[in-house]
Symmetry: C2
Subunit: 203 residues, 2 copies
Amino acid sequence: MPNELPLLANGPVIRRDAARNREALLQAAAELVGACGVRDLTTEAVAARAGVGKGTVFRRFGSREGLMAALLNHREEEWQASVISGPPPLGPGAPPMERLVAFGASRLRHHREQAALIEAAGSTWGENYAVLGFVSLHVRTLLSQLSVQGDLGYLSTALVAPLAVPVLRQQIDAGGMSEERVIAGWNDLVARVVAQPSPTRSS
Amino acid sequence: MPNELPLLANGPVIRRDAARNREALLQAAAELVGACGVRDLTTEAVAARAGVGKGTVFRRFGSREGLMAALLNHREEEWQASVISGPPPLGPGAPPMERLVAFGASRLRHHREQAALIEAAGSTWGENYAVLGFVSLHVRTLLSQLSVQGDLGYLSTALVAPLAVPVLRQQIDAGGMSEERVIAGWNDLVARVVAQPSPTRSS
DNA sequence: AATATAAGCGGACCGCGGTCCGTTTCGACC
DNA sequence: GGTCGAAACGGACCGCGGTCCGCTTATATT
């Protein structure tokens, strides 16, 4: 009898060589993105640079978009770490409202910096509910700490929506708004949401 | 001397056969979308059904996404017409707040109905600033009629953002919210934006 | 060490989006 | 009707994303 004790269903065991190839592919992809840009990146080039066959790319990442999403996840984890355990006001330790304002600006810049990768990841990224869930949950927690009344589940997702890449593109690239104006606008939006409709207003 | 009097630069004249082919392609595409779905639509099939070569598709629409965007534009114009000249409360004649609420629900349903086409149109649709501009301008006008203070240019785009397809997908399909809950949440968001944080001045 | 087995691998292959260029057609002017 | 330039056409062609299947290799077991 084989050792049938998967601790808490830790999933299908990943073979060593597979893990090595995965890392090699991610590194190769990152290097090629830096060299050629996201647009001109071909899966064959990534496979060749990593020293593996093209089929391996699709075995590991499912699609070109999946590869892009995996690249993004790495950057995303760094960003999440700065929210979870970084210095205030983005990280813990600052009052909720200050954290919320810091979140908006930071998330906006993060989206602008990663815009090319985010668009290349396409729906694969949009369906990455682990990431989206973290972001909206964070906002929800802050809203709750601010004693906001109402459907926090909805409000948190709705407040994150204006920070999406296509919206920023419309506002900044097409509409001619400055980044500062967008940030100020978002802060104002948040202030209106946080301010309670009926009782005395907060500053 | 040829008749060099382009009335207000009415652009390059479209040849008759080109216009006919354009219509034939749009109709063929619409029929095939109804039959095979958006996903399995190939440009070659559209061209064949329209009785033209594949090159013509790309000459007229630039890309597969452009063709999808053209299809969408037709539906979009119908929707815009119902806003401009349709019956209240979506059309003119109702108080601004009622129009705004009607707008949200209508736009949400429109996005859900056309979701497949919108995603197939991709960035081509996202860059259709004529459409996006109309929507945000409409919201901006209503906010202005409601005497909302602040950066209306930002607020209007920010209020439209939560109605985008990926957001709705996250809320409804992944998050398990009902359509009614989403509409109610958006109405609440609008109410908070319209309610003045301070009667005399805003920060 | 030997064996068994399932996971991984590679690269030939396919289909479709997109391009290119020689040919055709439109329509303006004589 | 004839002529001419420009616009449009069509389909062969190309490159890349994605699949498939026979071969290789890691790992567990004895």
